[in-house]
């Protein structure tokens, strides 16, 4: 019993909290590029479903398991992550991490919580903000698009089988784009969407003007205490006005010109090879042109959607779900492993491109200032522990690489998120159920 806990004093429940965005630094509308001294920091999160093969060390198919052999600096990649070998100076691999609150959930429900870590059960579906959106809250104002949410299946999908990795601060799913052409137009074209954005923003601007005028007219009829209340109102309206102004200003900033010729914009998920490559290309372009600094890509949802057929791309049974379920059987780890290797090849190509591209005139590469989180929300399928995870990039953001770090189950995956946010320059000391930062990475 706490004897000081007097009810009247504990009454401030849920006081409304306003997020103070440090957007003022972005008010130089015409020149959204950063000064060369402080390069932009970027974050890209990629998830694939159903998990991987986890054969034991003495298993004949051990080298088709996802996790490396060994530990720490003394590790050896298997066939699966071999494509990343030349990049390992910029890559850390993690073992043993997962979201403690998600361990008891159904094995196919964890796609929704890969970047949130929330527990979703018992008929009440309530998710929380995702890692990328925390970063977007802090950095989103610096670019035309606060963040870019992509997935093979598009939209938000059904709950527990969602087709997006991103969740708003209120825990609402953010719809993902999936069609390469549409993504390209959203980024580089003046399509209808941005025209109606413009109309709406202009409407909002004139409504806010009107409201401010009304507030001024009201002022002289009020006593001093009421005027202070009105100040609060006007400050809030002006703040929103500036936000609108900022969005509108971006509409007038000329778009970077890019050559779409090299991207397979006609790709669709039925041709997995071209499609996955096209999405990585678009993410690369978006980051390179600084149209956004935050992206997520869900390679496949946990639902029976088109991404399930992706293994067909390398001549395997067109059912990813089934491959994952069978992976424990004889000869099957090899099969799932080959597909996971294919996914790793795609990732490696993306990472390599970032590494080969200079970050403006900073003398650094894009990869040096970009974090790429890659992994799945199961280890072996249906097992919500020991996620296969790796982090690439961020060499100039204080991260040390080229090791396989293994953790016990007492370390929540959110600790990795905290370390990542801090590397992004976000002053965060916790995320969800985190207990600190991740040891060994900085």
């Amino acid at each position: 019993m706490t004897f000081r806990e007097i009810n009247r004093r504990t009454a401030l429940k849920g006081a409304s909290v306003t997020l103070a965005l440090p957007w003022l630094e972005a008010m130089s509308f015409g020149a959204p590029r950063q000064s060369p001294k402080r390069p932009a920091r970027r974050l890209c999160s990629v998830m694939f479903p159903y998990g991987i093969a986890v054969p034991k060390d003495d298993h004949p198919e051990r080298d088709w398991g996802w996790f490396p052999r060994g530990e720490g600096r003394d590790y050896k990649l298997t066939h699966v992550l071999k494509p990343l070998e030349p990049l390992m100076d910029d890559v850390s691999i993690f073992g043993g991490l997962s979201h403690p609150d998600c361990r008891a959930m159904n094995g196919h429900d964890t796609g929704d919580t890969f970047l949130t870590g929330s527990r979703l059960t018992d008929g009440v579906y309530k998710n929380t903000v995702s890692l990328d959106q925390i970063a977007a809250q802090h950095l989103g104002h610096l670019t035309r698009h606060p963040s870019l949410t992509l997935s093979t299946d598009g939209g938000v999908g059904p709950r527990t089988r969602s087709t997006t990795l991103s969740y708003s601060p209120k825990g609402q799913p953010i719809p993902a784009l999936s069609d390469p052409k549409q993504i390209f137009n959203r980024l580089f074209g003046n399509d209808d969407a941005s025209r109606s954005d413009r109309a709406r923003l202009e409407g909002t601007g004139s409504i806010l003007d009107l409201v401010l005028d009304q507030s001024k007219g009201l002022r002289r009829h009020l006593g001093s205490a009421d005027r202070r209340k009105l100040d609060e109102f006007e400050t809030s309206v002006r703040d929103v006005e500036l936000r609108v102004e900022r969005s509108r200003a971006w509409l007038d900033v000329p778009l970077p010109e890019v050559d779409a010729g090299s991207i397979a914009l006609d790709a669709n998920p039925e041709g997995a090879k071209d499609y996955i490559a096209a999405i990585y290309d678009l993410m690369f372009l978006a980051l390179q042109t600084d149209l956004t600094r935050i992206t997520t890509y869900q390679i496949g949802s946990y639902g029976p959607t088109v991404a399930r057929t992706f293994p067909a791309a390398i001549g395997l049974e067109p059912n990813w779900h089934s491959l994952a379920h069978k992976a424990g059987k004889k000869g099957q780890a090899t099969i799932l492993g080959r597909f996971d290797q294919f996914l790793a090849q795609n990732l490696a190509r993306f990472v390599q491109r970032l590494k080969d591209s200079p970050d403006g005139d900073t003398g650094q590469s894009l990869l040096d200032n970009t974090l790429i989180l890659y992994g799945s929300a199961n280890s072996r399928t249906h097992v919500n522990r020991n996620y296969p995870l790796l982090l690439a990039g961020g060499g100039k953001l204080g991260l040390r690489h080229n090791h396989y770090l293994r953790f016990s189950e007492t370390t929540p995956m959110s600790n990795l998120f905290v370390t990542m946010l801090q590397a992004m320059g976000v002053e965060a000391d916790r995320f969800g159920d985190s207990t600190g930062t991740l040891n060994g990475l900085t």
């Binding site: 007097i6 009810n7 209340k229 609060e232």
Partner: protein, 766 residues
């Protein structure tokens, strides 16, 4: 201390007095070498200082000027939009939650804040509301589904990984539907109820089947069946409030639509199952060599407790008429010979005067006409332009705030205009904007006429809208939100169901509502020979016999019943407890604050907490722990005046049930209540009155403290009605109303009438 100015109101030493009070309470002053006051002297001094400091605080608030411009609360915003537009939808859901004011109110103008996020949310809500209220084009395609027999196929039945399966007795597939918009469902059902059995219920839910293991859904409502004759129930709602399927067919169910389904429950909430009904599941295949078992005929209807649904109907989007009422109300028909801009002007004028709750001058109309014209010129339709102009009004300070404009110059109180008075009345008794009649009377300037005013108050209290007054005032007076701040520890109370909290809340709101509806003596709050009970609560309280219905009804209680008055109600007993043990201090502070208007001062800083897990306290009853607590100098001064008020209620445990023994924490952390110990509810109040138990406390309050109670009621209601903390300038009003209230035998209706006739209510002050 001798050098301090004893006048804390006019003097300049209030801050220093405040420090001195803390020092005194901590036992640090006077210094140990000096002569020490006796505990009694110490308390007299502390009480005097506390009282004077309170007076000083009120005086300062008064001198600073009052906040009279009040933003609408979330619930007022919701109700106001509903009545303004004629759209029954809650547009307040996205707004951030609101803090309680220091004196416990949600509607205090000084506490109600504004933020950029809030403005953005208002704007989004305004546009969404106008999209619904004003329509374009022809009626949308209507999807209508009816079922007269049941299906239960396709739904998961096993519990997997924490997902609770649904296994309804009746289900309806809604294959095509709009993603948003209104729906209506109609249910016709009957029930065979054996004599004496409780009344069964049907729970209606709407959701979808995303996959193999769980069915996201939300409950639409619960209906209670009372007869063998078919009864029809109707619910309306909004598609977007319910979980919906994606566009892709999912898993092996192949369902892309939504599902409306019914669970049958008995009076105690247990599921009613009829496995003998033939349609429920196909018969199991017989094993090899065995014959299929014949299924027994279900018994005839009427021979057992049984629910039968005659039909279930679902229609979406549901519009009673097209265009909907809101559209007609806002836009109307264009008169012959009227130009489009004239039409818009007339419609806007009408809308603005309702939105701003007063008459609107032509000059004020201009900017809204400009928004209309600009949108129209940008190539949008007439309807779209009207939406945009109306949405602008919904983020105007004239809508979002209740503005009472002063004539400049004078500092004296000024009478309210009739429209302002109409608003005050309406938000006081209805928590929403004035209706057509109030507005008409205000326009005719008749509302200040005492006869008219009295008739209006009577009419308003008779209207179902005054339910909002009962709900919001009882909620804030009795601090019912505190129920949500207490987590009941399931290790201590394994059978406690959190849904009971809602029943507890409704008991107390219903109790207050009865006082108001039947003009009973408000002293019943202190003790009563009746209460508002439903079956779930009666079971929780151990009352017998159990009522048949789970609807709340007024029931007589025996004299000195444990459940008489608010002090016998679980809403108070649980919310002012710790979730494990009864908490006499919280309960005492609540009584002092909410019923007697003499809240104890908050504890001084740096007071050490009594660590209930310390070995010194293991095995002690709460009363013994408190006694130990009071031995400490720092705590003694205040707690001698607090603890005795809570101790007589020790028979009520943390969830409000009566027991002759109470658990005692033994050992260290996470110890279960292994040792029940007899309760000792005797105490001596600060004024020396000996009290033996809850009944004695209630009797004492009802006889000895009625005047203090009357003042407490008056102050609470006045602060609620004015939407601000009371201060120095309100003392006379409070005394006058308190006298009136006592003279009126504590009848709330008389108090309300006196209150709305008071100068404080009828004038705006500095």
């Amino acid at each position: 201390m001798d050098r301090l100015d004893p006048d804390m109101v006019k003097g300049r030493d209030a801050e220093t007095w405040h420090d001195a009070l803390n020092q005194l309470n901590l036992g640090e002053m006077p210094p140990t070498k000096a002569d020490q006051p006796t505990p009694a002297e110490r308390r007299i001094l502390a009480d005097w200082m506390t009282g004077e400091l309170q007076r000083a605080a009120e005086a300062k608030r008064f001198a600073d000027g009052r906040v009279t411009m009040r933003r609408l609360t979330r619930y007022e915003y919701r109700n106001t939009l509903r009545d303004l537009l004629g759209v029954d939808r809650d547009f307040s859901k996205e707004l951030p939650p609101e803090p309680l004011s220091p004196d416990g109110f949600l509607n205090n103008g000084a506490t109600l804040e504004m933020s950029p996020t809030q403005i953005e949310t208002y704007l989004t809500a305004a546009r969404r509301a106008m999209e619904i209220a004003i329509v374009e084009g022809d009626r949308h395609e209507v999807h209508r589904y009816v079922r007269t027999n049941t299906v239960t196929a396709k739904l998961p039945t096993k519990k997997v990984a924490g997902h609770i399966p649904v296994n309804p007795e009746f289900a309806l597939d809604v294959t095509r539907y709009p993603r948003s918009g209104p729906f209506r469902m109609k249910l016709t059902a009957r029930a065979a109820i054996p004599a004496g059995a409780g009344l069964p219920r049907i729970r209606i839910s709407l959701g979808h089947v995303p996959g193999i293991v769980h069915v996201p859904h939300r409950v639409v409502g619960e209906v209670e069946l009372t007869s063998e004759e078919p009864q029809t129930f109707e619910y309306t709602g909004w598609m977007e409030d319910y979980p919906q399927a994606g566009d892709v067919a999912f898993g092996n169910t192949g369902i892309t639509g939504m599902i409306l389904f019914l669970d049958y429950l008995d009076a105690d909430g247990k599921e009613l199952r009829y496995p003998d009904r033939k349609y429920v599941r196909p018969p199991a295949k017989p094993r090899k060599g065995q014959k299929a078992k014949p299924r027994p005929e279900p018994p005839a209807f009427g021979t057992r407790l049984e629910i039968q649904v005659e039909s279930l109907e679902f229609e979406t989007p549901f519009h009673a008429q097209w265009p909907p009422e809101s559209h007609r109300r806002l836009i109307g028909e264009r008169a012959e010979g009227e130009s489009e801009s004239e039409h818009a002007r007339a419609a806007l004028k009408q809308f603005l005067s309702r939105a701003f709750r007063r008459s609107v001058k032509s000059r004020e109309l201009k900017p809204f006409q400009t928004v209309f014209a600009r949108t129209r010129q940008a190539g949008h339709s007439f309807e779209e332009a009207m939406r945009e102009a109306c949405a602008a009004a919904l983020v105007s300070p004239h809508f979002l705030y209740r503005v009472e404009a002063r004539k400049p110059g004078s500092n004296k109180p000024q009478p309210l205009t009739d429209h302002e008075l109409a608003s005050r009345l309406s938000y006081f008794l209805w928590s929403t904007m004035p209706d057509a009649q109030l507005t008409r009377l205000a326009s005719q300037r008749r509302l200040h006429d005492p006869g008219v005013l009295a008739a209006e108050v009577k009419r308003m209290l008779a209207s179902p809208r005054s339910d909002e007054f009962s709900r919001n005032f009882a909620n804030q007076w009795f601090d019912l939100e505190a129920l949500d701040r207490v987590a009941v520890n399931p290790e201590f109370y394994p059978d406690f169901d959190n849904d009971l909290k809602e029943a507890m809340r409704r008991e107390t709101i219903g109790f207050y509502d009865q006082l108001l509806r039947h003009d009973l003596s408000c002293l019943d709050v202190l003790d009563s020979d009746w209460s508002m009970i439903n079956r779930d609560l009666a079971r929780h309280y151990g009352l017998k016999p159990l009522p048949r219905s789970n609807r709340f009804a007024r029931v007589p209680l025996p004299a000195e019943s444990r459940r008489g008055g608010v002090l016998g109600q679980a809403s108070f007993l649980l919310s002012q407890s710790g979730g494990e043990f009864a908490h006499p201090i919280k309960r005492a502070v609540w009584i002092l604050d909410r019923l007697l208007d003499s809240p104890p001062p908050p504890p001084p800083p740096d007071v050490p907490e009594l660590d209930s897990e310390s070995p010194d306290l293991a095995g002690l009853t709460v009363k013994q722990q408190l006694a130990l607590h009071r031995e400490r100098e720092a705590c003694a001064n205040c707690h001698q005046g607090i603890d005795p008020w809570g101790l007589p209620l020790q028979h009520y445990n943390a969830i409000g049930q009566w027991g002759e023994t109470a658990p005692v924490r033994i050992g260290k952390k996470k110890a279960k209540p292994a040792k029940p110990t007899p309760v000792d509810p005797t105490t001596t109040l600060p004024d020396g009155s000996p009290i033996d138990g809850a009944a004695a406390l209630k009797r004492y309050l009802k006889t000895e403290r009625r005047e203090q109670f009357a003042r407490a009621v008056v102050k609470r209601m006045l602060a609620y009605a004015l939407g601000r903390s009371l201060d120095f300038g309100d003392r006379e009003t409070v005394e006058q109303l308190t006298n009136d209230f006592i003279e009126a035998d504590f009848r709330l209706r008389k108090l309300i009438l006196a209150l709305v006739n008071s100068d404080a209510f009828q004038s705006r002050q500095r």
